[in-house]
């Protein structure tokens, strides 16, 4: 099914995938009493943050991410991805995402999904800010001819 006016949008797949992401967060919260925030778990899995006790749990989650995507790609439907042709935006983007998510204590999953659904004021502010700067950044990239 497509959305009138937005031929590329995937509303049904988006909603379905979103429900799974929320389910994953619910398992983490109700099962383990923790937030499924990927930036925090990634940092913990390599020992940049947190205690050794939490490290094994973080590693298990981080290994699960590509494994889950692999299973969908292999058994459900081929997943199309389009990366920037040059490594430069990946390197600059990666540095900013890594530094920013540590400084701001979270990313799209921790603040955007887990925190907003908790109605945490901190997470709502963080989400509004990273959304706004995301829109502004891509808007400027379009203005200066970096978007095709």
């Amino acid at each position: 099914m497509s959305l009138p006016g937005f031929p590329d949008a995937m509303p049904i797949e988006g909603l379905l995938g979103g429900l799974l992401i929320g389910l994953a967060g619910a398992i983490m919260l109700l099962g383990l009493g923790r937030i499924a925030g990927v930036s925090g778990l990634a940092a913990r899995s390599v020992g940049i943050a947190g205690s050794s006790k939490a490290r094994a749990l973080a590693i298990a989650f981080i290994l699960g991410l590509p494994a889950g995507a692999w299973m969908i790609n292999r058994f459900y439907a081929e997943i199309e991805v389009h990366f920037p042709a040059s490594p430069l935006p990946l390197i600059i983007g990666g540095l900013l995402v890594g530094f920013g998510t540590r400084l701001g204590s979270g990313c799209t999953s921790g603040h955007g999904v887990c925190g907003v659904s908790r109605l945490s004021p901190r997470s709502m502010v963080a989400t509004a800010l990273f959304m706004a700067t995301g829109f502004a950044t891509v808007g400027l990239m379009r203005l200066f001819g970096f978007m095709s």
Binding site: L19, V38, V81, L96, G98, V125, F130, T137
Partner: protein, 135 residues
């Protein structure tokens, strides 16, 4: 038990990212591209993810401890400070430049390992830089 649950959560999370189209940096960037061919898919993903999580937070209220751990270990900070704001700003810029945030980047290790690894390497570098300079 805890490890298995954490792995299961990661598996379902990764599957959700793949199904929703969020593993594709170009699609995420198209959501942020309001002056281009705007793609609203990310809004559906966010909406979908908030439903089970909102229910989970309601259920958590009636629980003394989580099902497979001794105690809840949740962020308790309430302060909205400069760190939170600056961090979110940096993250938003990096997200816009690359179309990637940590979850999709890790999921993409299974789909496009080369570029995903470049991003993740830089991301871990940024995290380490924060640890050295700020903490």
């Amino acid at each position: 038990m805890g490890l298995l649950l954490s792995l299961l959560s990661g598996l379902i999370f990764g599957a959700g990212l793949a199904i929703s189209g969020m593993a594709d940096p170009a699609r995420v960037q198209a959501f942020l591209d309001i002056f281009g061919a705007w793609d609203p898919t990310l809004a559906f993903v966010m909406g979908g993810a908030l439903i089970p999580m909102a229910i989970a937070w309601k259920l958590r209220k009636g629980m003394k401890k989580p099902l497979a751990a001794g105690a809840f270990d949740l962020p308790g900070t309430r302060q909205i400070d400069k760190k939170l704001a600056l961090g979110a700003l940096f993250f938003g810029v990096g997200w816009g430049i690359s179309g990637l945030c940590p979850g999709p980047a890790l999921a993409d290790l299974a789909i496009a390992p080369g570029p995903a690894a470049i991003f993740i390497g830089a991301m871990l570098g940024g995290m380490a830089l924060h640890k050295i300079t700020v903490e």
